[in-house]
């Protein structure tokens, strides 16, 4: 019973993506398991970010974008007719490479998505602000100045605010696009700690340029190269005994 493999949280089947004539992703089949941290590594322009943006259909806004293959969230096709894309984006929370606090107060940043989702109860707002900031490890630093401007926070704090903003929606999957690329080591470590704790609550997909980060902060790792999924496996295994030559070359610094 316990060994029964659970249905994956998210799954792509033969996902191919084009922007105009350029192929960005080739036939990617990858699953995101429940309560795991999946890292995606690879050199620049290997399709990591495109892959992430497929998961919450943010690429839909790009007019050149075309796709074949399926993406399933908890077994349901996210492009299916019964899937509401707005609801989908609430279930899949995204954090961007550069922290983008909206130019409002800390509190407003967190309550915005709730208000737009029709939750107007102030008590719920207050509870969510506190719980999500606690989850993101920012509560103690900002609890006395929730109404101050979000852009007055430091870069690391801003990124944790962006994380809290997403967590307030209780997403089932958390996707992070190089969330630490602009941060100092201490801020990076804090975010990695937060991800470790969050694992119990949601599945996490972490795109990163930093292979060390992937080895520290993930359970499984996928290696992307020029739009292809080269290899995916347990992080320990992939880093110590990669099956593919190209993975080994990348990890030992021969390119990328």
């Amino acid at each position: 019973m316990t060994e029964q493999p659970a249905k994956p949280m998210m799954e792509t089947r033969g996902l191919t993506v084009r922007f105009g004539n350029a192929v960005a992703l080739k036939n990617i089949s990858l699953e995101v398991r429940r309560n795991e941290r999946l890292a995606i590594i690879g050199p620049a322009r290997s399709g990591k970010t495109t892959f992430l943006r497929c998961l919450n259909r943010l690429n839909d806004f790009d007019h050149d974008y075309s796709r074949s293959g399926d993406i399933l969230l908890d077994g349901t096709d996210i492009h299916g007719p019964e899937m509401d894309v707005v609801a989908l984006r609430r279930r899949i929370g995204m954090v961007y490479a550069v922290p983008v606090p909206l130019p409002w107060s800390i509190r407003e940043n967190i309550t915005y998505a709730m208000r737009m989702a029709g939750i107007r109860n102030r008590r719920v707002h207050a509870e969510k602000v506190e719980s999500s900031l606690k989850l993101a490890g920012l509560w103690d630093e900002v609890k006395d100045r929730l109404d101050s401007h979000a852009q007055d926070l430091s870069g690391g704090q801003q990124q944790r605010l962006c994380l809290a903003r997403v967590l307030a929606l209780e997403p089932e999957v958390l996707i992070l696009d190089e969330p630490c690329s602009g941060l100092d080591p201490i801020s990076t470590a804090r975010i990695e700690d937060v991800l470790e704790e969050l694992k119990a609550r949601q599945s996490i997909v972490l795109v990163t340029n930093n292979t060390m980060q992937a080895s520290r902060a993930s359970d499984r790792t996928a290696f992307f190269l020029m739009g292809e999924l080269v290899e995916v496996g347990e992080t320990k295994q992939l880093f110590t005994a990669p099956r593919e030559e190209r993975t080994n070359d990348y990890l030992t610094g021969r390119f990328g």
Binding site: F61, V86, R90, Y96, V98, P103, Y112, M116, C162, L169
Partner: protein, 278 residues
């Protein structure tokens, strides 16, 4: 004789700076000339009382009301249309045939002389639709006249809102309309406000178009269907008829002060806009 490059640069810069200084001088002269002759005659009585014997005595209160009514109406009608157009052009469509046509229309409209707007407003609103020479006709004519300015400034303000804000909002599961309303417009509001304030300034200064559409009645307007003389037109009539110059100058001073005030307001809004979009 050939001048050395450095010498010819000095000469050219001197000439151009002189012309620039002259331009600044003209501006200062115009403003000071009007204020110096007009402000001493601007009293509370002048601002709060109706004119007597064709404006020889008394004040300009009905004209202030008329100006506010006509210009205010023009901007109130034009602002939502202009902002909606800007939203459509920036957020809801891509560059293409349709946007080219809409932009061409707006750009052309911006170049149409006010007297043509006046002729049009006269045959269409005043005569054709039976509104007569009235605040309504004048306001609608002005609305059409300032529309391109509002479209253009709103478009610029909306484009200045970082793309990443929209991405964040979409990523948080908000619809396009929610994003436009609560993220984009909120950030662009000071910039849009600047355009609206400048349009208000343009409507207040306008003379030819309102002369043919709002008429020149001097009484205090009681409804939108009443004719009402605006300040700029009142000033024109006083100046032309050679009625007491003190009243003409005082009216011009009120116009100039209003213009300076609106420009200051627009400047303040613009500063706030840039501070916000840092």
């Amino acid at each position: 004789m050939r001048l050395s490059p450095a010498a010819s640069q000095r000469a050219a810069v001197a000439v151009m700076w002189t012309m620039t200084a002259a331009t600044i001088g003209v501006l200062a002269f115009v403003i000071l000339y009007v204020l110096a002759r007009g402000l001493p005659h601007v009293t509370w009585e002048f601002l709060s009382r109706a004119p007597e014997s064709m404006g020889r005595r008394g004040g300009i209160f009905p004209m202030i009301v008329g100006t506010l009514a006509v210009s205010g109406m023009g901007v109130l009608i034009s602002a939502p249309i202009g902002v909606a157009t800007a939203i459509y052009l920036t957020e809801y469509t891509r560059k293409g045939m349709l946007t080219t046509i809409i932009r061409f229309g707006a750009d052309c409209l911006a170049g149409i002389p006010s007297i043509i707007f006046g002729l049009f407003g006269f045959v269409f609103f005043a005569v054709g639709l039976g509104m007569g020479l009235s605040i309504l006709s004048g306001g609608l004519t002005l609305a059409l006249m300032v529309l391109p300015t509002i479209i253009r400034t709103s478009e610029e303000a909306i484009r200045a809102v970082p793309q990443s804000f929209r991405e964040v909002s979409f990523g948080l599961g908000c619809t396009r309309w929610q994003t436009v309303l609560f993220v984009v417009l909120r950030s662009a509001l000071p910039g849009i406000g600047t355009g609206i304030v400048l349009s208000l300034g343009r409507s207040i200064s306008e003379t030819a178009a309102v002369m043919l559409t709002a008429g020149s009645a001097m009484g205090l307007p009681q409804s939108l269907f009443d004719s009402s003389r605006t300040l700029a037109l009142h000033f024109y009539i006083l100046a032309r008829e050679g009625l007491p110059m003190s009243k003409a100058y005082a009216t011009a001073a009120v116009l100039i002060v209003a213009m300076l005030g609106l420009n200051l307001l627009a400047y303040g809004l613009m500063k706030r806009f840039h501070a916000k979009a840092r």
